[in-house]
């Protein structure tokens, strides 16, 4: 049976740390200028060529390539200014204990530069990357800087959480559970009364499990990602695993998109490679859907055809097929089990949704499929 493990990390939210880092940054630049030197910001390079898979820690990590942003370079000067603007804004936010959304941060810092027709930020697409740059530069999460993204995903189960002045049990908030906020840094776990967390791709499936009283019966915490997991959800999963020792089990559709959701939760993503250590949970395991489930549970009639052109056909591979082949090449899918699943998907040209299990019966997933698989540890790595 799955049981809670010993915690590996401790609650580490410290607003003072962020403030110190920001002040340090400002002082360094000022000192350079005072000495008549061309001030610069060192920003770890974004993109695929500065990303690698750490085989030991088994997460996607950022390389050590830096790009240097100089003030006296006309091509850099604007970004240099923008970065400092956001840094100053973050300092105010954190010291005042307030949170702002990305869009609010954009509007708060957008104004016309005096004596010109130029705006400090023309578009949110200018401010968002600057915020990411700051994260990477300082090694501080956006959430720690009190900048929040759109919230998505919810939690249901017997755990008690303290969020600011509120304390509540997420199984006592109604069937809808507790919506995960953009920032979970400051959340504290008061009481954990579950054995593991089940991360579910679709809200419909999560709702089904809640209705079937799966969390209570199985002592599980349901985390609905509602598609690709948001940063808040990923950070929550990470913290639940490392701070509270909860085993993480992921339940997605049996298709390349679902498997990619799993991959992101487990190994991190290329875009946020610099945050993998705070967002990824390499110990997460995968319960389904798998290709083997189709045979095992007789779901052949409820599969869907893969989209796109198979690799052996002219013009292929495209669509789902292409995606599957890409996933086959991920270092973390280089296991016998995963290669087998991916190969079968290619071979059969089908996908299987979580909700296809309703073909058996509505309660099938909660009463039989999940409890059996988890109890027998029929899990993919």
């Amino acid at each position: 049976m799955l049981k809670r493990e010993k915690p590996k990390e401790r609650f580490g939210y410290d607003p003072q740390k962020v403030l110190r880092k920001l002040e340090e940054l400002g002082k360094e630049i000022l000192e350079e200028v005072r000495q008549g030197k061309n001030p610069y910001l060192d920003i770890p390079t974004r993109g695929l060529n500065n990303v690698y898979f750490d085989e030991v820690k088994r997460v996607i990590r950022m390389g050590d390539k830096l790009s240097r942003r100089y003030f006296l370079n006309v091509a850099h000067a604007r970004k240099f200014m923008q970065t400092l603007l956001i840094a100053a804004y973050v300092k105010r936010l954190v010291s005042e204990g307030k949170h702002a959304s990305l869009r609010e941060a954009y509007y708060a810092n957008k104004h016309t530069i005096p004596g010109t027709k130029e705006n400090t930020f023309e578009d949110q697409s200018e401010s968002d990357p600057v915020i990411e740059d700051l994260e990477r530069m300082l090694g501080v999460l956006r959430e720690e800087m009190h900048l929040t993204a759109d919230r998505r995903g919810y939690v249901y189960g017997d755990i008690t959480i303290r969020d600011g002045e509120d304390e509540f049990n997420t199984s006592k908030l109604g069937m809808g559970g507790w919506a995960v906020p953009g920032t979970v840094e400051h959340i504290q776990f008061v009481d954990i009364n579950v054995d593991y967390a089940l991360v579910v791709e679709t809200a419909a499936m999560a709702d089904r499990l809640i209705e079937e009283k799966f969390p209570k019966k199985e002592r599980a915490l349901i985390i609905a990602t509602q598609g690709q997991a948001s940063r808040g959800v990923r950070r929550l999963i990470h913290r639940l695993h490392y701070e509270e020792g909860l085993p993480i089990i992921v339940f997605t559709d049996g298709d390349p998109y679902g498997w990619y959701i799993y991959s992101t939760i487990k190994q991190g993503s290329i875009n946020l490679a610099y945050l993998s250590e705070k967002l990824a949970t390499p110990e997460a395991k995968f319960v389904g859907m798998t290709m083997d489930d189709i045979k095992k549970y007789g779901l052949e009639n409820v599969t869907e055809k893969l989209k796109g052109i198979p690799p052996n056909k002219k013009g292929g591979p495209t669509g789902d097929y292409k995606r599957i082949i890409e996933e086959m090449n991920y270092p973390w899918f280089q296991t016998k089990e995963w290669q087998r699943q991916l190969k079968l998907a290619l071979e059969w040209g089908v996908r299987i949704e979580q909700q296809a299990l309703a073909n058996k019966s509505l309660e099938f997933v909660a009463k039989k499929y999940l409890p059996e698989k988890i109890a027998n540890e029929e899990l993919l790595p």
Binding site: E23, L30, V33, F71, V74, A88
Partner: protein, 570 residues
């Protein structure tokens, strides 16, 4: 008998007009616009040449009066040396003798028969005599009406008046009345012609009064009078049978050999021995009947295997050499057309030293720069005079290119074509200058769109024998060597333009850079003040002094005026 005489007279009159009509193209009297330009050209050329020879800085004033439909009076007045009374008929009347036509001299007047042609044109179209007012600066001013006596083929003064000259005026004013012409301010018209003439002759002050009374002045921009060209002996590679034949008739030397040595450049006694062998070889080759053998031998001859060819003919060759030697010793006036032909053919196979180039008179880089600057007022100007080269194996020529950019120039490409300083206004498309200018990859020199660039290119091709495409003498034939030289000259000028333009861009860019950086300073200062707690004003100062330091060197460069750099370039 008397009747026959009348008839003959009639025939002669007709023949002179006929000659004029038939050779209208060659003489430049085709088309209504062009005919007017030609009349002005002949008169202005006369003025400039006269001033040049007399060492006077020319002042030329052209006035066009509209008398009626396609009916104009053209007045050209100069401050030249004036024409002595007895030479008036000579200057304005010598119709077909062609004073310059056969002189081996780089002259403006290659156009044909000069001012007498203009007098003739006026006479044919309006029936009026040409009025000439001239003084050499002495006590009297002569006013004469000149016509061409087609019967005698010479000038005739139909009326003459003498006036006192109390102010000591010196110069010549001629008035021609012409019909069937049209004044248009196009690129083929008088205005454009004078503009181009002024550019190529910066030492001249030229004025134009247009039919509507508008005065246009092309001021003098150089005080230096160009040296008149000198006559040069023809180079063997540059002559035709006709030249050799005609020169042989006129020479005072008593043998063909001496005639060739003394009247041609680069021919020595040794060369005559070589010439004899070549003529002999040509005769032997021509005696072959099989065309294949003929071609093969000619090819070998071109490779210089003259001795081998002669040896292969043995005794026959020796006999023929003797004959040719005899030919060289006979009096030149006895030289037959066929023999002259043989000599010219042999010249083609032989090698000669390149001809002397002291006869070529380029405008000169300095004067081109002055001319372009004075008339066009560009922002950048440069000129390239290439060293003399030869084409067709022996005809010397020289190429000059001037390039003006920006300033008061309109945003369109203009090509100013000259042959021996004379503007070429017609047939631009067929001209080697146009082809060469178009063939240059202007993008490489920072000129993105040539046709919309504020760029004027002057090209002057100088030679004792400019290869025109047609008798109109308005476009230069595409000779490889000339084409290449023009391209090289253009590219050199264009490189200088490129240097100038990139310097200009760099300076503009630096100013823009500085401004870009400066505008961010207040924002950065505020942000850093929030981050560090230091006062905003202080941080601003740091940044501003940082920018100042960075652009110090740039500021120095900026203080140099653009003009100075252009001068250095030139």
């Amino acid at each position: 008998m008397a009747k026959a005489k009348e008839l003959f007279k009639e025939f002669k009159i007709q023949s002179v007009s006929e000659f004029f009509r038939r050779n209208a193209a060659m003489l430049g009297y085709t088309g209504k616009i062009r005919s007017l330009t030609t009349v002005v050209h002949e008169a202005v050329t006369n003025s400039l040449d006269a001033c040049e020879e007399a060492g006077i800085l020319p002042y030329v004033r052209v006035e066009i009066e509209e008398l009626g439909r396609e009916h104009y009076k053209i007045i050209v007045e100069d401050n030249g040396p004036g024409i002595p009374e007895k030479f008036i008929t000579h200057v304005f009347g010598k119709m077909l003798a062609g004073t310059k036509a056969h002189r081996n001299i780089q002259s403006r007047g290659q156009q044909g028969i000069g001012i007498s042609g203009a007098v003739m044109f006026a006479q044919i179209t309006s029936g009026k005599a040409t009025r000439v007012i001239t003084s050499t600066g002495g006590d009297e001013i002569i006013e004469a009406w000149v016509k061409i006596d087609v019967e005698k083929n010479e000038g005739k003064i139909v009326k003459k008046l003498k006036h006192p000259n109390p102010t000591g005026w010196r110069g010549t004013r001629i008035e021609l009345e012409v019909k069937n012409v049209k004044y248009v301010r196009s690129k083929q018209g008088v205005f454009w012609y004078l503009k181009l003439t002024a550019i190529a002759n910066p030492h001249a002050h030229i004025e134009l009064i247009e039919p509507d009374g508008k005065l246009i002045v092309f001021p003098r921009s150089s005080e230096e009078i160009p040296k008149p060209p000198v006559e040069m002996k023809p180079h063997p590679k540059g002559v035709m049978t006709d030249d050799v034949y005609r020169m042989a008739k006129k020479t005072r030397k008593n043998t063909v050999k001496r005639f060739l040595i003394s009247e041609f450049s680069r021919i020595s006694g040794k060369k005559i021995d070589e010439l004899i062998k070549y003529i002999a070889a040509i005769r032997l080759i021509n005696s072959e009947e099989d065309k294949r053998i003929k071609d093969e031998l000619s090819e070998r001859l071109a490779k210089g295997e003259v001795d081998l060819i002669l040896r292969s003919y043995g005794r026959r060759a020796k006999k023929i050499i003797k004959e040719v030697q005899k030919l060289m010793e006979k009096p030149p006036e006895k030289l037959s057309w066929h023999e002259a032909e043989e000599i010219v053919e042999a010249f083609k196979y032989m090698k000669f030293l390149a001809p002397p180039t002291h006869g070529l008179r380029p405008i000169g880089e300095e004067n081109i720069v002055k001319g372009l600057t004075g008339i066009l007022k560009p922002e950048f100007v440069t000129a390239v005079t290439r060293p003399p080269k030869v084409y067709r194996g022996g005809i010397p020529f020289q190429v000059e290119v001037g390039l003006a950019y920006g300033g008061e120039l309109e945003s369109s490409f203009n090509l100013l074509r000259y042959a021996n300083r004379v503007p070429l206004l017609f047939d631009a498309g067929a001209c080697v200058t146009t082809m060469a200018a178009r063939s240059v990859d202007w993008k490489r020199y920072k000129v993105e769109d040539l046709d919309r660039a504020p760029l004027t290119l002057l090209i002057n091709v100088i030679s004792v024998h400019v290869p025109y495409t047609s008798t109109g003498k308005q476009s230069i034939a595409n000779e490889d060597e000339i084409y290449d030289e023009i391209r090289l000259a253009i590219m050199e000028a264009a490189r200088r333009l490129q240097t100038y333009l990139s310097g200009k861009h760099r300076r503009l860019y630096q100013v823009r850079r500085k401004k870009t950086l400066q505008k961010y300073v207040p924002e950065i200062a505020r942000a850093l003040s929030i981050l560090t707690g230091e006062p905003e004003e202080k941080i601003k100062e740091y940044f501003i002094s940082l920018i100042e330091k960075k652009f110090e060197t740039v500021e120095e460069a900026l203080e140099q005026p653009v003009e100075a750099e252009a001068d250095v370039e030139a």
